[in-house]
Amino acid sequence: MALELRDIHKHFWDVKANDGISMILAPGKIHGILGENGAGKSTLMKILSGYLHKTSGDILLDGRPLHYSTPAEASALGIGMLYQDPLDFPVMSVLDNFMVGQKGVLRNRKPFFRKRFAELSRSIDFTLNPDTPVATLTIGERQQLEILRLLSLGIRVLILDEPTTGISSAQKEVLFSALKELGRQGRNVILVSHKLEDVEALCDTVTVLREGRVTGEMDAPFDTSELLRMMFGAPPKLTLREKVSPGEEVLHLEGVSAPGGRTGLSDCTVTVRRGEVIGLAGLEGSGQDVFLRIASGLIRPVAGSVRLGGTPMNGKDYHCFRTAGVAFQPASRLEEGLIRGLTVTEHYALQDRRQGLLVRWDDAYSTAGSKIEKFQVIGAPEYRVESLSGGNQQRILLSFLPDRPRLLLLENPTRGLDMESVYWVWEHLDEFCHSGASIVFSSSELDEILMASDRILVFFNGKIIKDVKKEETSSMELGRAIAGKTS
């Protein structure tokens, strides 16, 4: 069955996430939807799967327009979606998860579904134990469960949103071979990704989106540089930073292990020197998040020692690290960085660490004004932070960094920013290095890591599997290391 999207628009208030998208998806093929973060891929797929309502446009199946407004209606029509964050129930068992949403009233029919589960698993070579709680599964296994469940509903169009984020290379192989099998069975598989290598490895045809519009289509074999052009417009320029020679030790981790995140962190030994910029590469949630939180005192290690400029910091809390000159900036801006409901001025008033009973509102207001000017924020001191755009929120967060920090720990500092803002952020961060600070940052963009760092640590499954100077590596080698291959 051929699926056709015709002039799809989706507006969130005044943001046009999808701005007139049309495409035809042929059956029996694996169709890639490519685009960088924020290109409108996820929105489009959520519309297709019935989770979001489109502002205007038509979806046609074999030429007949489809009308549905919920995921359930979509799946009754044979369209199912695997979401980026698996939508499941961690406390329940695999089998219970498999059963939620299946028809039925009182009777459980567990044996029937157990059999069905086993049959489907066999057909695409998945090996899941139906009785384990989902909370103990890896992301890859949770995806497998969700695919099995969708298949059991008779899905003919399967949409996968960034399925390779956070899963191991072995699981990726299992996933890809299953998807190829589904394609052979005549199903329509749609793979949404911002990773070229996934698309090249799997897809028969690809559509590229940028800023809510279709910028091109291509059949396999793909011309990589042409795809890049369609994704980014002009290929990204890599500016070379002036090198600062590393000085004395700032942070030292010796055999540190801690639980947390998806994988935890085990047996990590790293030294960060003065003036260094270290990029943490790896699939999201491979231990970088835990590393940054240990280095900032938010997670206490269960083994190993943490030293800051020679002083042991074990057992100290985040606020001690803060006073010692460590600044941490989390990835989720409105959840962990800024405070919804407070104005920009109030945020600067919070930053004012001088003693005294009263808030110095005048000072805070003028600080806000000057910072807004210096950091080129589009907004005003009396704006509430949640009314600012993502890029401007990031700029506000950057302006919170202390004037003379010792160590900056930044989690995905440029996520969701356009290229221009990315360059602006790094120009600003470089100034910190010149004044003697060290920077450790994580990023899901390899290009950014190669552009900004002096040294790169590659995380895989909770371990550092590569520690290399930038000059001595290449994006190919790093890409392989991120997927777990160090040889």
Binding site: Y51, F89, N108
Partner: protein
Amino acid sequence: MSDFHVTILLASVIAAAAPILLATLGETITEKSGIINLSLDGTILLSAMCAFVIALKTDNILLGFVAASLVGALVAGMVAFFSIYLKQSQVAVGFVLTLMTRDLAYFIGSPYSRMPGPQVGPMPVPFLSEIPFFGDVLFRHNLPVYFSMVMIGVAWWYVYKTRLGLRLRSVGENPEASYARGINPNRVQMVYALCGGLLVGLAGATFSLCIKPGWGQPQGAEGTGWIALALVIFGGWNPVKAALGAYLFAFLQVMSIYFQGWLPSIPAQVFQVAPFPLMIFILVIMFFAQRESFVRWAKDKPVVRAVIRALSSAAPSSLGRRYSEE
């Protein structure tokens, strides 16, 4: 103490626990779907008043029970409506309703204070009540008490062993995922708020028509709703464990009467309020038992570990959170 006393004690515990049990089970079901109905304390009073007045006026006990359960469902339905359709805080609305329904009960019920009225008579189960000891403890009660005992099993079976129960739990855990799977979380929450409210209403009727017959100000049911709310946490959102909690609480209540007799030097007020701090104490213990350091310490202590496992619990992940599409 002679055997005779133990029988009476246990039988009175079973009877006294009935309304607490019904309210706790009702609230457990409601909270499993992700809605907190904080209005229990007032709802129980209002439904107790309605049950008594209706039964008195119509001279029909059954109608009293029906009215009470409808009142319970109505109040719970308001909490759910405010949360689902008006996006208001469940805690705020529940709290206001607690006070409002209590005053409403006192206001409308005041002409019926201290009036003699109908009450449910005992109904020993044939044959079973002849069993020595157990017959006396379990099978010489009235219908609502039997109903409360049966409901423990029914609630457990429904929540954990049926497809509808699975749907109920899935909404409480992750409404977004449930929606993606074709379940309407709003409707599920509304339905189980109403079902839970129904049981809470029955709890009220059980007070005014069986356990503490009649109406007055105070009625004697004051505080039960709060206890039921705490018991839901104590029971880890599991109907069977919550029921055990209800029996434990009823046991303490009954025992306080005995203690008063045995230890006249300790004032009666201490025994009356003792269960409440005890409840807090247990909640604190449960909190500490779930701490990592404590779990490590208990690793090589099988008894402690077993106790922790029995006490450990997790609230439905989206409890109290408002769900909205898009």
